[in-house]
Structures are given as structure tokens and as C-alpha cells.
Subunit: 211 residues, 2 copies
């Protein structure tokens, strides 16, 4: 058995801290992230679980300014539409939330799922193709925790048009849009998540109902 | 700023170990898991990220023997169908894999996603309802890592008929099947994942393609 395979209570507490202090960050400092740190984040994704070890996550690191500007314009359009769908009493609260760090995040990643990967030979996904998308979500979550423990902030941008994104990045037909990631040094550390502080939604308790 | 919000290189290494030694476990010892440990795992799910803090994961802890037997029968049926779909040269390798710990795992959880949760007021999911399912996948991944650091094994069973599971557990119409979890003390620790050892699928490297 290799060293490190048995974990201690101190290790469990470290994981608890990482989970507890993870934030959806939308306020970034513009200074770049060390490439060695980014390589560690990329490498963390090599250990993500996936159905049949199919590894369906596909990552594009978006550095081109025109691509970034188009993503941001799509966000602003989709966000305005979302705001308009709320009744007036919620709309002001919605518009007061900063929902994306696209204006300043130094590292931006477009994430897709291959819905027909060669890896894994189809194992485990015949009754539930959804498992491929679950695998990509776990890859994003892995990156999120790995970034947090490097004291970096990460935020997901879900308010984008999936078809527009697939066209913008001209991806193969088997790549399906998953999410867009903003990554960088956070402007501040906050012991209270933004949506709690803004009064939008507090945590409700996870229940394990017994049957 | 509260204690623990700034992480060290040692913390990053702990997370790397947890990610690296996480396994999809299908071989369990039948002895029960301490309820205090299970409560820590449940509590870890309170910190899972979710779109608009909508917290759409729904968890049923399955203890009833008849329910467990029905889940296992569905798995055996779906697995036989999956095996039959492989060409002969892969079928033997497929059938040699143990793909579920349903026979012995002391803790079993049925996981669903509410696709219309009240929490979050719809924030962030109007262009991409898929984000709710991503949130549930992140909840499952959180549980997986939290179990690993308690030296417990966890395995997902994806080879089940989603509609049959929704009927079996008689869930509300807005609950959508996500996955089934087996949890317990692993029979052994293995430094090599099962699908690698069996020669089914090795790891391929995660690429961050630049654009």
C-alpha cells in the first residue's frame, strides 16, 4: 500500500475547510495566475471520476480577446433577458447581483462534454447517458476545490446560450456545452457567500430521508 | 477573516492525495458504518455549490430489504442487457468486471435531482436547466471525497433503469433520477483503479486546448 492511502482526522478537517470556504467568485483582481499553478489545476483533472473512465470533459482555455468579448456580450444579453423575467420586487435584487467575472478574470475556460467518447467503451452509460455530463460536472468541481486550496477564486457562468457557445467555439458535433469558468485571484475573501449576504438564498439543510 | 480561510501547500497536497486515492469501490465489507461518520458525510453535502444556491439534490437512504432487492434485480437485468450489446471479444472482459456493490454495501443512497426547486428563485438556470443536474453531480462528488477521507469506499451504480427507479421510490414528479450510491468499508485498498487493473481503460491526459 502506498504512502498517503490512509487518511487521518486532520486530513478530514482539511477537506471540510476546503469545502466550507469554497466560494463562487465573481470579483477578481486582473493580475495573471502563475502558469505552474494552472498546470497543477490541469493535472488535478486527471484524477476525476468518470463513467467507465470515459473522461468526457473537454476544456478550451480562452485567451483570444474577440472570443472573450463575444462570450461577455452573450452573457449580458442572456442576463438582461433573465432579469426581465422576474417580477419587479425581485428584479432589482437580481440586477444588484454581480453574476459573472467575465470583465476581469485573467483565466477563462469553456467546458464541454463529449457525448460520444471513445474512452470507456460505453461502460456504465447505456441506461443513463447523463452519466457523461455528471462526469464533467465532477471535473469542474475538482478544479474548483483545487483552485480554492491554491487560494484562487473560481466562478461558473451558466447564463449563456449553449447553442451560441457551441457555434462560437466551432466544436465537433459530439461536444455539448457544459459551463464557462472564470478563474483568478479573488478581490477579497468573504466568510459569507454572496447569495447569502445579498439575502437571495440561504442554505437549506441536506436531508437523508430513510426508506 | 476566519481561521482556515487561507490554505497552505500542505493543504493542497492533502487534497491531491484525496483526489488521487479516490476509488470507485464495488467490493465492500458488510459491517456497518458508524452513524456519526454518516452524519459528517451528510453535513458535507450542506456545502456543495449549486446554481443560485438552489440545492436540488434529493437523497433517499435505502434500508428496506425489499427495496434493495428490487434495485439489485434491476441492475442485474440492465447489466445483462449491456453485456449482450458488446461484441464477443469485449463481452467476456465486461462480464468479468464487478460493476456494483449492491450485494454487500451496508449504506445505500438513491440520489435524485429536483428539476423545479423553490430554492434559488430560478437564478442562473434559465438558459441551462442542466445546471441543476450539474449541482447534484457535485453533491455526489463531495460525498465521494468526504467518504474517502474517512477511509470509506464509495461506488456509483449507473446501470439502472431511471424510470424504474423513479417508480420504485414513488418520488414526486419533479424528482429526476441521478444515480445510486453504495458506501461502506472497502474490502481492500488498491493503488490501481479497477478499470486500469482489468485493462478496460487507462487514464488519458486532460488537455487545455488554447484558443
Amino acid at each position: 500500500m502506498e504512502a498517503g492511502m490512509v487518511f487521518t482526522q486532520a486530513d478530514a478537517e482539511t477537506l471540510q475547510h476546503i469545502l466550507r470556504w469554497r466560494r463562487d467568485v465573481r470579483h477578481f483582481r486582473p493580475d495573471p495566475v502563475d502558469e505552474a499553478v494552472l498546470e497543477r489545476l490541469r493535472a488535478a483533472m486527471d484524477y476525476v471520476p468518470s463513467v467507465g473512465n470515459s473522461r468526457p470533459w473537454r476544456v478550451i482555455r480562452v485567451t483570444d480577446k474577440a472570443l472573450r468579448d463575444t462570450v461577455r456580450a452573450d452573457f449580458l444579453r442572456c442576463n438582461a433577458e433573465a432579469a426581465a423575467s422576474y417580477p419587479p420586487e425581485l428584479r432589482a435584487a437580481y440586477l444588484a447581483l454581480k453574476l459573472a467575472g467575465l470583465d476581469r478574470a485573467p483565466v477563462q475556460l469553456a467546458i464541454f462534454t463529449s457525448i460520444d467518447p471513445a474512452e470507456g467503451h460505453g461502460l456504465g452509460r447505456q441506461t443513463l447517458p447523463q452519466t457523461l455530463r455528471q462526469s464533467t460536472a465532477m471535473a469542474v468541481h475538482t478544479l474548483w476545490l483545487a483552485a480554492r486550496v491554491e487560494n484562487l477564486g473560481l466562478g461558473l457562468v451558466s447564463i449563456l446560450d449553449p447553442s451560441a457557445m457551441e457555434r462560437l467555439f466551432a466544436v465537433p458535433p459530439e461536444w455539448e456545452w457544459a459551463t464557462y469558468i472564470c478563474l483568478g485571484h479573488p478581490e477579497q475573501s468573504d466568510d459569507t457567500p454572496l447569495l447569502h449576504r445579498a439575502g437571495w438564498q440561504d442554505n437549506t439543510r441536506t436531508v437523508w430521508e430513510e426508506r
